[in-house]
Symmetry: C2
Amino acid sequence: MTAEIISVGTELLLGNILNTNAQYLSRELAELGITVQRESTIGDNQGRLADFVNEAKNRCDLLVFTGGLGPTADDLTKETVAACYGDTLVFDESEWEKITGYFARSGRVTTPNNRKQAMVPVKGRKIINHHGTAPGAWFEQEGRCAVLMPGVPSEMKAMWNESVRPLLMKRQNCTLHSVTLRVLGGESSLEYQVRDLLENANPTAAIYCKTGECEIRITARAASDAEGEKMCREYAKKFYDLLGDAVYDEDVAGLEETLVRTLKEKGLTLSTAESCTGGLIAQRITSVPGSSEVFGYGFVTYWEAAKARLVGVEPDVIAKYNVVSAPVAAQMALGAAQAAGAEIGISVTGVAGPTGGDALRPVGTVYLGAARGETVYVKKLSVSRPDRALVRARAAQAALELALRLAQGKVPAGTEPLARDAQHSAEALDKLNEVFLGH
Amino acid sequence: MTAEIISVGTELLLGNILNTNAQYLSRELAELGITVQRESTIGDNQGRLADFVNEAKNRCDLLVFTGGLGPTADDLTKETVAACYGDTLVFDESEWEKITGYFARSGRVTTPNNRKQAMVPVKGRKIINHHGTAPGAWFEQEGRCAVLMPGVPSEMKAMWNESVRPLLMKRQNCTLHSVTLRVLGGESSLEYQVRDLLENANPTAAIYCKTGECEIRITARAASDAEGEKMCREYAKKFYDLLGDAVYDEDVAGLEETLVRTLKEKGLTLSTAESCTGGLIAQRITSVPGSSEVFGYGFVTYWEAAKARLVGVEPDVIAKYNVVSAPVAAQMALGAAQAAGAEIGISVTGVAGPTGGDALRPVGTVYLGAARGETVYVKKLSVSRPDRALVRARAAQAALELALRLAQGKVPAGTEPLARDAQHSAEALDKLNEVFLGH
């Protein structure tokens, strides 16, 4: 089955709005095994829209429209597509009651324009909108179909999931089951590693990369959900075999969600001391509902004096090794845990740029610390082609990864340990500092 | 002049990548006075691409392509478009040297495929890529033009600004001058207020809304930059007359940038005590280069004990009024300033949800404090239709606005003052608490 996605709205052509609907529908259609051949954005112009629909309906089996279902005079998608598919529209009393009720509840009155929204297909079918006033529509002629959904992303997604997706699954006579693996690691290398597994018809697997991690979404089409789940599990195993514990979780919103859940499971609490990330790590942790169970205190220690006063870094250590150094990261992490009475402390000190680097510590150099029990683990990050936002994002991601490994009871990879007892020993700090210089 | 934007890449049709290029180019073309009539995304398929180009070149004056200029076999945009515009490609020695040099510097060797990238138009012109290996191309036939740029957003934007935009301005015989106003306030009401000013041919004005603020971009086309600037200034004045000091700055990345600059100008420093925003405010402030001049200490006081220990909130005050209350916000702000030795302290305590609200403090209730000198100003925010991320984003935005007003020496609108001396007085705190209950 082939499809095209059509976004209708002059505001899109002016660049006033970023079109996120097309990407969402592309992924969803791909999972249904429907090939998207073209995506188009058209303005609210009846002539151009009609020309477009007449061309497009002969190129593929399904046209998926978003937008142009509003009450204003230039919202013409429904009328135009109906005509192209040999259908007409009729006034629907129950939709009209819904619309007037909706307006009444929000203390407004309808205008004559609003009646347009209550028009529904005669031969085709209306699609109920449970989250707004504009119903969707389905048209069909000689086996070629068109579906119309609202342009507001939340309404579109809801209508897609509640009505359109099930309708298409029924036509395809299948169910879908998905699992999303979350994987730590650099984008291009990871993509290369798993490339062979991404070329499969069923289950499909697609990779979406973000800063410091990727998402691998596996989707199986099957006659039953149980069978789909089994197919997903078997296919997921291939990724686990290849990637090991770089796969840190399934079906979560991000590393912070896994970290908070793991801390809860183990009955641990965590504290942060952030310099160049400036609150970004605490912000990510507290974005997770229920994080207050495991996170109570965060320190943004931007100045050297703040590092000393809030988390007990020795001014002499800063003077000797530089504020961006392994010994300072180690003392910050230990200090954060102690000041908060937390089991785990994590820290970041680095040069986010655009200025402030030197030969030993160019912009993009970050030291991370992660303390638990009697040991603190230090890691160095060198972000190439650094810009301020990227350095901060990578540093926060790396810090959350260290925290997760400690919460899991593992020794984090690529780190150097220092004993808590040795944190004030010149010899031990010298040694720790040496390890990272020249890396 | 009319145009279409064409994004080439199967990965876009699969939804693997969000297409941000189309929005960027839509805005830029609109500013040049070029009407974008359609945007399309096409896969890497030579037949379908050729069909498309042959249709599209007769519909408008200019086709703007991004993507499909890579070295692999399925990158066919240049060959295909050349043929449609009656042009051919020729191997360009200087481009090839650039490519081999680029590979050598990154320690790699070129493959035969890479030679494709050194092919340039015979009749048209190549467009130098200063930020990558793939040159762009310009084709022209009987007054109809096509321009090809890389798909990587950073390379595309650079080529657009360095070469394509100047070329189009020259053809249009004009220069462009732009100014972007930053405006605080609710999105829909603001858009309604300025709607008449958005319908102008030259200068154009477009509004882009974000959480708690909008951006109004004014662009004038003129024969000289000086004339364009004058036109922009005159048109901007209309917005200032309408919106007053809701316009907080021009040509900045966000409220945090204006705040940091204002603090620097006034020689002030600032500190934060965050509960429900969990570091988001500190993160936004420290995202500004040079913020270390004005920001040294940030406290994420998620637990009640943290509010007491780090910024001196009295446990009795929490017990009496609730942790989400005006008295607690006031003590947090005063305590943040004092603990950091900063002139200004800001604070947030609220119910971000999804759970945790009660009748007096439903999810979405946030108290903000802003202290300077002998006074702390408290404000209450009630976010309707709250979700956790939205509540946090609105609270951070409101806190930054309070801080900016204090830095400017103004009394922030919609706040209740409390004297520093009265922060431990039961009577004064009772009174402050009363003002906000039932709002």
